[in-house]
């Protein structure tokens, strides 16, 4: 696309050129009206990226406004590069999650790598040192011919980037579903730490200030990446490979160190990374927030390739670049820092009082646009939508029982949905920085806040099959699952970031999924005092007219006040009792049991009771801090039996840990619904027998059910009337699928 357009920079703007820029005819009419003239080609390019769905949130904005974004601990909500929350003692956590779906499908290694790089820049541009990375990945069905290649490329791309930069990847989630065959999801999250009095923002306040470019040189890569990310896929999408950027983690590492070094001084007024839409969006957003104009001379932009046009430079998405507004007279000091780290540094412009963005190149004015219009004139659509009608609940009695519960467990543990993710997370350095105290494989990753006794707990979750059945309830569930995962390690949940991955919003049923999802999120966040402080929307995740399962990935951050009092899922002592906390209804609708054992997903997803979640969460955190539980695990995918088995497997390598004797269930529900139901609001607690009564009583005082379900010991999972299942066998099954699949043997 760039060839046809930019080789003829004086070309008349034809309807074809407008269409190539992803603008609808009515949007172009709007542009003509706003400008009062025909745009130059560079100006058209600038508007097209600013008005892309990716940059403008034009379909989602009206709904995102309804989310709760404030709270006692929120220092910065949505609207900056990332959200900021207060961790006490002058510490702040800065975090965000962002998608890199389309690039990763086209070029998995670079697509995923630059996704990680981009989200880290969003975080350190605000003054934080990145301390933890996570990722939420959705691939197509394992039998799809591209899946193996995509898993391999995405995982090594994430590792290749994060490992080199030296930020531990401490958590994440992976799903396989045919709904992602033609459109995988790669959502990367980064969490950083800063001091509350050293947070940097992007408002270019002040006139006559130097506009400084630092980092890598600008090349022709990624031109119109934001526009690509806002379009549906078809069979020719592979041809878009040139719009995928190429990452350089080494430069990113240098950029982090250089930025943090300069940030220790007071030379910087504002700073922003050049992400989607590169120079265009960084300059216009910084100028708009500062209420100033900006004049750029592109002759000074460090360039990797010869003869780049203004159009190409303004739209390039070359990676590892930042834009800063410095205090006048501090250029030399700043330049010295960047040169020490071997990075380019160039003054490319100045802030003005004209309120216009003027782009000069080789003495010619290639663009002259009013900043407020550029930054704020994107269309806002109230897209028509129809609500998703959730299916009726299925009663547990209607779902067939397995031949044996432990046999069913084996089948489920060996399936792609529940098998060990070790093959993936061992390719990520999860210990660099020396503060990882909760490694991958548990409910949440935990990193110690360097030099303190505080811990930062991080997780990301969503269960797309629930959301597909009922977007509102399913998204509520995603929020509470993050909340429980943080709780289960002993953290106070603080806030979330959301990564909304949906299909084409111009279709009312897809827009309905989005609306339902936002409603569910808002309700849960409000009830839990758990605001949304940053996020990203990725729409048009469709191939040949078929949308992905709606996937609102929720990333969350919590604080462990004292890491001496935290919990993990590993069973530790023989003879302890396992207690299920929370209400048991045997909810099998949309469960993994249905999916894997019955090979048929149906019914409504499990309902969420926010009030009970709050009560259970409070009790679990209290018990952890009082040292009354030795292991805690949230019950989610697969239900109680799966949760217990995970705790047993985690207690020793290759099945060498502690087994569990499960007691017979004597209640009214079908037994398999008890073992595999996915009722929400529940945890498994491992408790010293002498304390079990107290724990049950404390739950009773909160009107929360608590039931003793088993005892730790032995080397197997035992269930009355069934052949014991040794941990060795279960571990072998659990560890086998992914490596075997990736070796091409499944």
């Amino acid at each position: 696309m760039q060839d046809t357009v930019t080789d003829t920079p004086t070309a008349k703007i034809t309807p074809e050129i407008v269409a190539q820029h992803g603008l609808k005819p009515d949007e172009y009419e709007r542009l003509l009206e706003i400008l009062g003239r025909e745009p130059q080609i560079t100006e058209l390019g600038i508007f097209s990226v600013m008005w892309s769905e990716h940059c403008s949130y034009k379909s989602s904005r009206v709904w995102l406004r309804t989310l709760p974004t404030t709270g006692a601990k929120v220092i910065q909500g949505p609207g900056e590069n990332a959200g900021v929350v207060d961790l006490g003692d002058g510490d702040a956590a800065i975090f965000k999650m962002e998608s890199h779906n389309h690039p990763s499908y086209i070029e998995p290694y670079q697509g995923a790598a630059t996704g990680v790089g981009g989200i880290m820049r969003d975080v350190f541009t605000m003054g934080a040192r990145p301390v933890a990375n996570l990722n939420a990945l959705r691939f197509g069905d394992p039998s799809h011919p591209k899946t193996r290649h995509l898993v391999s490329g995405v995982v090594s791309g994430i590792g290749g980037y994060g490992n080199c930069v030296g930020v531990p990847t401490v958590g994440g989630e992976v799903n396989f579903d045919a709904g992602y065959n033609g459109n995988i999801l790669v959502n990367a999250m980064c969490v950083g730490l800063a001091k509350t009095d050293k947070i940097f923002y992007s408002a270019a306040k002040g006139v006559g200030l130097p506009v400084v470019y630092v980092g890598s040189k600008t090349g022709r890569d990624g031109i119109h990446g934001a526009t690509m990310a806002s379009a549906e896929f078809d069979d020719k999408s592979e041809e878009k490979r040139p719009t995928v950027q190429v990452g350089d983690p080494f430069t990113e590492k240098l950029l982090i160190e250089a930025c943090l070094e300069l940030m220790a001084s007071d030379a910087i007024i504002a700073i922003q990374d050049m992400g989607a839409a590169g120079l265009t969006s960084s300059t216009s957003e910084m100028a708009d927030k500062g209420g100033v104009g900006i004049e750029l001379d592109l002759d000074h932009v460090p360039q990797r390739e010869a003869n780049m046009t203004a159009y190409e430079m303004m739209l390039s998405e070359s990676q590892e670049r930042m834009l800063m507004i410095l205090k006048p007279g501090r250029e030399a000091e700043a330049e010295a820092v960047f040169h020490k780290w071997g990075l380019d540094f160039a003054v490319i412009g100045v802030t003005t009082d004209t309120g216009r963005m003027v782009v000069k190149h080789k003495g010619v004015i290639e663009a002259d646009l009013p900043v407020p219009v550029l930054a704020n004139s994107a269309p806002v659509y109230e897209r028509p939508w129809v609500p998703t009608v959730p299916p009726q609940p299925v009663l547990p009695q209607w779902v067939k029982a397995p031949n044996g519960n432990l046999d069913a467990l084996k089948t489920m543990f060996g399936a792609p949905a529940l098998c060990s993710r070790r093959w993936i997370y061992e390719q990520y350095d999860h210990m660099v920085m020396g503060d990882t105290i909760g490694r991958p494989g548990g409910d949440a990753g935990v990193v110690r806040i360097h030099g303190t006794q505080k811990g930062l707990a991080v997780t990301c979750d969503v269960t797309p099959r629930y959301v597909a059945a009922d977007p509102e309830m399913g998204t509520k569930q995603a929020v509470v699952e993050t909340w429980r995962n943080l709780t289960a390690v002993g953290a106070d949940p603080i806030a979330i970031t959301d990564n909304m991955n949906f299909g084409n919003p111009e279709r009312p049923e897809i827009m309905g999924q989005f609306v339902g999802s936002v409603k569910g999120m808002a309700e849960a966040c409000l009830a839990l005092d758990y605001p949304v402080v940053s996020g990203n929307v990725s729409l048009y995740n469709e191939t040949n007219g078929v949308g992905i399962p709606p996937t609102p990935a929720i990333g969350a951050v919590g604080l462990i006040p004292d890491v001496a009092h935290m919990a993990d899922i590993r069973l530790k002592r023989e003879g302890e009792l396992l207690i299920v906390l929370g209400r048991e209804q045997g909810w099998l609708g949309q469960s993994l049991y249905q999916q894997i054992i019955c090979e048929k997903l149906e019914g409504a997803p499990p309902p969420v009771d926010l009030n009970e979640e709050i009560k259970a969460g409070r009790l679990v955190r209290a018990l952890i801090r009082e040292g009354k539980v030795s292991a805690v695990h949230d019950i989610s995918d697969g239900g109680l039996l799966v949760a217990v088995a995970e705790m047993a497997l985690a207690s020793g390598e290759k099945g060498s840990g502690l087994g569990v004797e499960l007691f017979a269930y004597e209640g009214k529900l079908p037994v398999h619904a008890i073992w595999f139901g996915e009722d929400q609001g529940r945890y498994v607690l491992a408790v010293d027998p002498e304390r079990a009564e107290e724990v049950v009583e404390r739950a009773r005082l909160l009107a929360l059910p608590a039931r003793i379900v088993g005892r730790t010991g032995g080397d197997a999972i035992t269930l009355k009337g069934e052949e014991p299942l040794t941990l060795k066998e279960l571990a072998a099954i659990n560890e086998a699928w992914l490596p075997t699949y990736m070796a091409g043997e499944v």
Binding site: F250, D429, M433, G434, R439
Partner: protein
Amino acid sequence: MLRASVIVFPGSNCDRDVKTALEAITGFPVKMVWHGDASVPASDLIVLPGGFSYGDYLRCGAMAAHSPIMRDVIAKAKAGTPVLGICNGFQILCESGLLPGVLMRNASLRFICRDVHLKVETDKTFFTSCYRKGEVIRVPIAHAEGNYFADAETLDRLEGEGQVVFRYSDGEGNVSAETSPNGAQRNIAGITDSKGRILGMMPHPERLYEKMLGGTDGRRIFESALLSAVAAMS
């Protein structure tokens, strides 16, 4: 006392980690030395940390081996200053000729981050006096190029001179092809020079030096260095 210096290359990313561990264990402040400097301050221990020096873009450790500071590191090492190279630091030691052999891409061709068991093959070095020979310890690895290779003659010499310090093993100390995470020749995880004063190892002892991190087996590398340095002074 222990005057330790950690060399910081562009792309080093375990420099702070090893500084933190050293200071916590020895109680003495650690100096950070920039790769562009001409000399290392007088030190009882020089550490080449883990990471991706110069992006590892040519060959791991190859460019770092030719950085300005390495001339002085090599000179001081040859004059007897103990040097510890961890992960990328081990690669730099090999590339600079202070230790024999090379570290090739892992046999699996993948980056691997996990705890491994190591059999301690000698307690007669500057860095291992606090371990017992034959002891099995648990320390994490995190690398894509840790597959140690040298010709048979060199390997025989290393073995004969007691320069093989750590071997990948299972929890009981059995050494076999299955217990090697990366395909290293003879399961070699760490070697020293002939005097036992230059140690290169792929595993990261600084990552398991306190209980909170999940283990303390890495700690004694640094305790050994402190004791050896103090013993040399008295």
